[in-house]
Symmetry: C2
């Protein structure tokens, strides 16, 4: 299958994809394991807080975002990804509630060749997680490592 | 029960806690749901990549970190936390493997009163996730919102 390499990526490209239904069962299951704070476990406890009602852990929102990103990576021509060294920024902007459907809007904001590793390039993306009202619930600026098709060309 | 408020926090304080055993079953379970890339699903696929063998999703490492943070928050005097608006930075530094035991070292690096919300303060922490060899596998710079005990005192 054809692959997309570093050279194929164009700064400014915007992609929209994903439709992740947030269920009450999954919100409570994730929070019970990884983030058992009251407002992620029950409506009653959440009613007394900023969240107002049961809301997803921010790390759960990150995990749901990743599920959509990986699913999208597997569609069409796969990206020759070498993983991510991390994020420049992560913002939890609004609560995520059971019944929400999340989607992604991701923009490639920068790319550059690695100085030390001619076989790889470094990308920078701004990725928004949106709810069904089009509101951004989470925003990240992430860095990615992508294989270069022709390392000798202009290293 | 006594609570710790914004006024009680001292910049420079370092806390070490947690002992999270990373199991093969949990690594595969998390990745199957949220990050089904080959190197998070099997040793065979991971052997051909940077990871070398089955390794945890970075979002799983974040979730395990959160589990340790919440568990620690519930020990001793709880912090009057109002949640987190996000992270200034997140770095995935080394792979996390089944069999690893993770722990936390967290340092309060800054705190300031909110300009608009006299009832809350904003903290900045550097949190390292370490493996059993003392190697940092993940590092975040996070912001937290903490209730102020006496909002009128010096707003």
């Amino acid at each position: 299958m054809a692959m997309r390499y570093f050279e194929d990526l164009e700064v400014g490209t915007v992609e929209r994809f994903g439709a992740y239904p947030v269920t009450r069962e999954e919100v409570i299951d994730f929070a019970s394991r990884y983030d058992p704070q009251p407002f992620h476990l029950s409506d009653e406890a959440a009613a007394q807080t900023y969240f107002g009602r049961l809301s997803a852990s921010g790390w759960h929102t990150g995990a749901m975002m990743m599920a959509m990103l990986v699913s999208h990576m597997k569609e069409g021509e796969p990206l020759a990804s070498l993983g991510s060294p991390g994020l420049d920024r992560l913002e939890w902007l609004k609560p995520v509630y059971p019944g929400d459907t999340l989607s992604i809007e991701s923009k490639l904001i920068d790319k550059r060749r690695s100085k030390n590793r001619p076989e790889m390039g470094i990308t920078k993306s701004e990725t928004m997680v949106l709810n069904q009202h089009g509101e951004a619930v989470m925003r990240i600026i992430s860095n990615g490592l992508v294989r270069v098709r022709n390392p000798e060309a202009d290293a």
